[in-house]
């Protein structure tokens, strides 16, 4: 029996050793080069931006908070000096609902282990029985990076689905983003802090920062609480902005929730952004009413 137990221990430990060594090697390599980056102008944000603009320079990813926008920017800038950042920033961006994506969210945290300055904190947030998920995700990312040539940290625009607005879904979305048991949800301290960090970093590094307020269905906009509308104006004052929030209005131009564009609008929004960029490429002076100009 001793022989069997010893052999099992040898097998398990050598297996874990090989897995750990490969994991460390992959982790070490990709923490230096998490992105395949050749762009001086980059787009950052969450799924709203990911679906908004058809370009390889679109590094936005779903459920991505300002914290990871910030660390992504740091990594991307390290690999290739960034000139211009377009950052997705809408009314919901300051909502406390984003904190869910910062604390123990299985689907979100493992993506950013490589660029998180405190990876051990990420590990600590996992229950022992769920740690395998985190590790498995790293291998999945490594596999995609090596075999499929994706970025190690997930990034890149996605083609939106062909759907249209559903008012019930839209109201649910509003509830999720702006309300907590019928009361207006509080602002997110972390989101605000990392937003300020991005602004500060761009100033220090002389990076042109432009915010993008992505299109929302008129009924969605009408339901945003006034506290959030006011805070948004206050917080973004003085920062160049491409305000597309009123640029689309047809139900088929949005997905069911009313805050993501549908495939029907993708070419239109891509064209709007390209036009905006060509107008501003030389001097980067933002016109007073951008949305009026680019609609032409």
């Amino acid at each position: 029996m001793r022989k069997f137990v010893v052999k099992m221990i040898i097998f398990i430990f050598s297996f874990l050793f090989i897995v750990t060594i490969s994991f460390s090697a992959i982790y070490h390599h990709f923490s230096k080069h998490p992105f395949r980056q050749t762009y001086r102008t980059i787009f950052l944000g969450d799924s709203r931006i990911q679906y908004l603009f058809k370009s390889n320079s679109n590094f936005a990813y779903n459920s991505e908070s300002f914290k990871f926008n910030y660390y992504k920017l740091l990594s991307l800038n390290k690999i290739k000096k960034t000139d211009t950042v377009f950052l997705g920033c809408s009314h919901h961006s300051f909502s406390h609902y984003f904190e869910g994506y910062l604390n123990n969210q299985e689907e979100v945290l493992p993506r950013y282990l490589v660029i998180d300055p405190d990876p051990m904190n990420v590990f600590r947030q996992y229950h022992f029985l769920n740690l395998h998920f985190l590790i498995k995700k790293q291998f999945e990312l490594a596999w995609n990076a090596v075999v499929k040539r994706y970025n190690f940290v997930p990034a890149g625009y996605a083609i939106p689905a062909r759907k249209k607005v559903n008012l019930n879904q839209l109201k649910k979305r509003i509830q999720q983003q702006f309300y907590d048991h019928q009361k207006v949800i509080k602002f997110s301290v972390q989101q605000i802090a990392y937003f300020d960090s991005i602004v500060k970093y761009c100033n220090e590094q002389k990076i042109h920062l432009t915010l993008i307020n992505s299109p929302v269905f008129p009924a969605y906009k009408a339901l945003i609480p006034s506290q959030y509308l006011n805070y948004y104006s206050l917080k973004t004052r003085g920062i160049p902005m491409l305000n597309l929030s009123d640029s689309l209005s047809k139900p088929e131009e949005f997905m069911t929730d009313g805050d993501h564009i549908s495939r029907a609008a993708l070419d239109k929004t891509t064209h709007m952004i390209q036009r905006f960029r060509s107008l501003n490429s030389k001097e980067f002076n933002v016109p007073q009413n951008v949305s009026t100009i680019i609609k032409k």
């Binding site: 029996m1 022989k3 069997f4 052999k7 099992m8 097998f11 297996f15 090989i18 897995v19 029985l129 395998h132 998920f133 498995k136 291998f139 999945e140």
Partner: protein, 486 residues
């Protein structure tokens, strides 16, 4: 607790070490440990249903003493009572709502609008398996093929031994009970064989079956929108999904039992290498087929009372076997299809062909004839699986109709499909089938000694590492086993 869960990866080594290092001084202690571990294993899923398991165990234990009564009339009475009781419990939990639905439909057709009460509780996991364990013991006691067990602990271990508790194999009293009552010593070769079975079983379940299931589920959920080519491949994939799922479970169960010094009945003997339906049923879910053969087919007269009775009995066991799988007409039709497939072999007296050898017994590859026979059997079994998998008969009929009509109406489109893009992932999923076929073919001569014929230890360890890596990568989805629902 699922075999493919982290909880089980912690539970198994703890019980193993306690069993061989702490409780190894006496058989009684080892059996107590197994019983407690088994109840813990079952209770992890549901405490209330654990009480049901314990209750049935105690009742059957005492009923057996009454059945052992030398007065035949009394013995028969107690046997009848115990069979009614066991099947009654099974019937209430598993079939009550089905029969109520059927009555409701019948009454509605007669214009009677009665609202019959339905049962709003779940199905206890493994109930069909542990009820059948108990019944085999009681019937064997009645037939004087088994003496009653004096220790309730031993009987409890026989009914509830955790590796086989929720999805079999369905053990026989005269096979497992002597092992429970006999001193067990650690056997290195047995433990190694057990570990290999666990590894391969996990691979089949976690890597193959669970990956394929994603593709199969998505295609079945909107089969109307898919072409014939995709539907055919999806049916083939389901054949391998259910095989990987159930035979994977059985391998883990057999392997785990080996670690504790038990040899369970084989449940799968590479069924997709069968050369006719009769051989398929000697290789697929063997413990269930042999249970029905011994406790239903033979008592009904088997094949000894002429062709007509033999055919009748064949249909009965296939229909009952289908119904055993679940309270749905789809399972009954699935059983009926197999009965019809079995009929030609029975009529031509070929049902006992291929009983002693495996395909390509002395060669590396099968002959053209064997290959043709295997493909023919596989195609038949795959068509029957469509009824097994579909949510109702109408869906299965439409599924098959869609395949046939697409081929007839657009033969060129059908033939031209392979090789183009794979939007549903069926071609990708087929790659997962390849290692199963290759390894099963290599091991086909002995389902209990996997990897034993790999020539060198280095090669074996490399294989273990590769398989282990795949399992680690795919582990953690916590998907249940298909046969848990039965």
């Amino acid at each position: 607790m699922l075999f493919n869960s982290f909880e089980f990866l912690i539970f198994l080594p703890i019980v193993f070490l306690l069993y061989w290092f702490v409780f190894n001084k006496s058989l009684k202690n080892q059996n107590i440990l197994i019983l407690v571990a088994s109840y813990f294993f079952y209770g992890w899923w549901s405490i209330p249903f654990l009480y049901l398991l314990i209750g049935i165990t105690i009742i059957d234990y005492y009923l057996a003493f009454e059945i052992e009564n030398p007065v035949i009339k009394t013995s028969k009475f107690w046997l009848a009572l115990s069979v009614i009781l066991n099947l009654g419990i099974l019937g209430i939990f598993k079939y009550y709502n089905f029969f109520i639905d059927q009555f409701q439909v019948g009454f509605n057709q007669l214009g009677i609008h009665a609202s019959l009460p339905i049962l709003k509780i779940g199905l206890p996991i493994g109930i069909s398996f542990y009820i059948f364990h108990g019944l085999s013991y009681l019937i064997d006691v009645y037939r004087k093929q088994q003496t009653t067990v004096k220790s309730l602990i031993d009987y409890g271990v026989f009914v509830s031994f955790f590796p086989l508790l929720v999805a079999g194999p369905i053990e026989r009293a005269n096979h497992l009970l002597p092992q429970v009552q006999k001193n067990r010593t650690f056997n290195y070769a047995q433990a190694v064989a057990g570990s290999r079975l666990i590894l391969w079983g996990l691979f089949k379940k976690v890597v193959v079956a669970d990956t394929i299931s994603k593709v199969v589920d998505s295609i079945y959920s909107n089969y109307q929108t898919h072409d014939a080519y995709t539907l055919i491949l999806c049916a083939v994939l389901f054949s391998f999904q259910i095989y990987g799922d159930f035979s994977g479970y059985s391998d883990i169960a057999l392997g785990t039992a080996k670690l504790f010094g038990f040899e369970l009945l084989s449940n799968f003997k590479f069924p997709y290498f069968s050369r006719n339906i009769a051989e398929f049923w000697r290789r697929w879910h063997v413990s269930l087929s042999s249970w029905f053969r011994d406790y239903l087919y033979i008592p009904l007269g088997g094949s000894k009372l002429g062709k007509y009775i033999s055919i009748r009995n064949t249909f009965i066991i296939f229909l009952v076997s289908g119904f055993w799988h679940g309270a749905n007409w789809t399972f009954i039709v699935w059983g009926l299809i197999h009965a019809l497939g079995f009929l030609p072999s029975l009529l031509l007296n070929r049902n006992r062909k291929f009983t002693t050898n495996v395909v390509a017994q002395n060669t590396i590859l099968p002959s053209i004839l064997e290959l043709f026979q295997m493909i023919q059997t596989f195609v038949f079994v795959t068509i029957a699986w469509i009824y097994f998998r579909a949510k109702d008969i109408e869906t299965a009929n439409q599924y098959i109709k869609k395949i046939i009509l697409s081929i007839i109406e657009q033969p060129n489109q059908f033939l031209g499909k392979p090789g183009i893009t794979d939007p549903n992932g069926v071609i990708n999923a087929l790659w997962y089938v390849v290692p199963v076929i290759v390894f099963d073919w290599i091991f086909r001569k002995n389902e209990r000694e996997l990897f034993a014929n790999i020539p060198t230890q280095t090669l074996r360890w490399i294989l273990y590492f590769i398989i282990g890596l795949f399992i680690a990568f795919y582990f953690g989805t916590k998907s249940s086993f298909i046969y848990f629902q039965f």
